[in-house]
Symmetry: C2
Subunit: 333 residues, 2 copies
């Protein structure tokens, strides 16, 4: 668990896109951030108060979260000066960078001297068990995609928000670094050792109230040959009661794999559901989410209507429309 609230470190971000992690926290857990910290030349802005380290501590911030991708994969000397100061001011640090905080001797020394914690969320911090497949109480929903990066995390975060707004018990369960930083906990599934993947997902989604939903963040795709094993571990470890199919309609080939076309939503359904039923025979596909960001309003409406008609399932773009119809489908399950 990463202690909240956060101060969002935007560093010298060259543009808003570089600050995707900060934007995710701002969008989905605004209550987790007391402000932002920007260095000279920073071009990103979360529309949060610009605070000094001292001001942020006074406002209650516990952890400085690196909300920006670093240039060239290294933590620059300019960043490091701020991070060392933050540790001295009493902040923990949290980061999803490839360049681990724990690999920087100055940060390790400052954390030690000040009794603070360095959270490298890319690296598993728990000795996960091997999955035992035992049925757990409570309910679980998982988005599976025709490809990677089609909006599965967004689907899960929107669903969690809308379920809670509808008075349902819901917890978003992060399985990737951005999700972990947004919510403060989770598993970095892509960094877990093969034998323990499904067990880490069981650990993440334990026994719960019968009417509680874990909204498990999806990863990869059963049809993406680089990462499909991660997806199957998520399906079998998560033992979902409900699957949502996620799609990006303008994708011409699998992400990073020019020779591979996308499966249809029908093929995704007919592949994922039988596999999910190995772990949970009661599993159902309850809806479709479509990322229509590359379509205009009328194209998007047409696309969603066509898929809904074809698949016979509630179909929505979580960003344009929210997920109310999926929430209703889950509540009715």
């Amino acid at each position: 668990m990463i202690e909240t609230p956060y101060l969002l470190f935007l560093g010298d971000a060259p543009d808003g896109l570089a600050a995707k992690v900060a934007q995710g926290i701002r969008d989905w857990r605004p209550e987790n951030s007391v402000g932002q910290f920007r260095m000279d030349g920073c071009k990103a802005d979360m529309k949060l108060p610009d605070l000094t380290l001292t001001e942020a501590r006074e406002a209650g911030a516990r952890t400085l979260v690196i909300g920006v991708a670093n240039r060239g994969g290294v933590i620059s000397p300019a960043w490091k000066r701020v991070l060392v100061e933050a540790l001295a001011a009493g902040f923990d640090l949290a980061s999803g960078l490839h360049n681990l905080l724990r690999d920087e001797p100055e940060l390790v020394a400052a954390a030690h001297a000040n009794g603070r914690t360095l959270h490298d969320v890319r690296v598993p911090s728990v000795a996960y068990p091997i999955a035992n497949g035992e049925k757990r109480r409570g309910r679980r929903v998982l988005a599976v995609g025709t490809d990677c990066s089609v909006g599965k995390m967004y689907t899960g975060l929107a669903l969690d928000r809308d379920m809670r707004a509808a008075g349902m018990k819901s917890t978003f369960r992060a399985t990737g670094q951005t999700g972990i930083l947004i919510t403060g906990s989770g598993i970095p599934l892509d960094a877990v050792v093969a034998d323990f993947m499904a067990g880490s997902v069981e650990w993440l989604t334990p026994d719960n109230d019968e009417d509680h939903w874990d909204v498990i963040e999806g990863q990869g795709s059963l049809f993406h040959v680089s990462f499909s094993g991660v997806t199957l571990a998520l399906i079998h470890g998560g033992q979902p009661d409900a699957l949502i199919l996620s799609h990006e309609p303008t994708r011409t080939h699998m992400r990073g794999l020019p020779g591979y076309g996308l499966p249809t939503l029908e093929v995704l359904r007919d592949t994922a559901l039988p596999l999910a039923r190995v772990a949970n025979p009661a599993c159902e596909v309850i809806g479709v989410t479509v990322n229509t960001q590359h379509l205009n309003d009328s194209e998007a409406a047409e696309c969603l209507a066509e898929i809904e008609e074809r698949m016979g399932l509630p179909t929505c773009d979580p960003f344009r429309q929210g997920t109310a119809r999926l929430v209703a489908a889950l509540a009715a399950l």
Copy 2:
């Protein structure tokens, strides 16, 4: 690569079963062993010459392989004395034990002092790439099981032997610790980090002659919820041209999962083949292997005939019958 030939260290094995790794080397790569080393009280016997360390070195042995499971998960002081002596005598050491050689300071010091190598085959020693899915030259065959531990490694080793005996080009590609120790190389797939699983299998089975077969050692099962992700990574990273279905007919539930029944061979075929065709559209299921060790001769014959009739595929027990009919099916592909 582990240097051959080996001296097989049987330690103080309480029985033959404890020396499964040595037995595998003896059965499948007899040319890799110059002899065995047994301590007082050893109850295992590979029917190889009992050699001292000096005699074994004189006979050409390069590596002492720990061919036995250790008691209580630790390397005992008695073992350690022999291992330190072996390093001084010029042997490398190779081990698949949980208790890593590299975690024993005396062994590390002796290896360093003598310029020798410690091979812990449970631990990946290569920075594997992320899979790119590109089609590779040469051909590949993989066994997939209705469950774990149904004879997939045995199927692969027998197939490799029989293909080479038939004059075909074949290489057994080990994906587990026993297979690695038997053949001297491979990947410890269950210990690879999730994101790199499929990439490690691509690395293991690179471009080759058009008429060369990689016989890839199978792992887990698509239907075993603890390890299914490993199996799918193997299918997608291996991009097999041919699948073999492997089964153990007396199994009443999935290994280690009392609540889970086994799939039928038909369901295994209909699940594995479409997934394999994502990576290799030309993939075919070419046969079935059945581990009939718990059946008597007539039961085994009946079982094999029934499956062959039902599935319409050449069906054999590799141990009782060899794999000649599968070799013929591969040659005809």
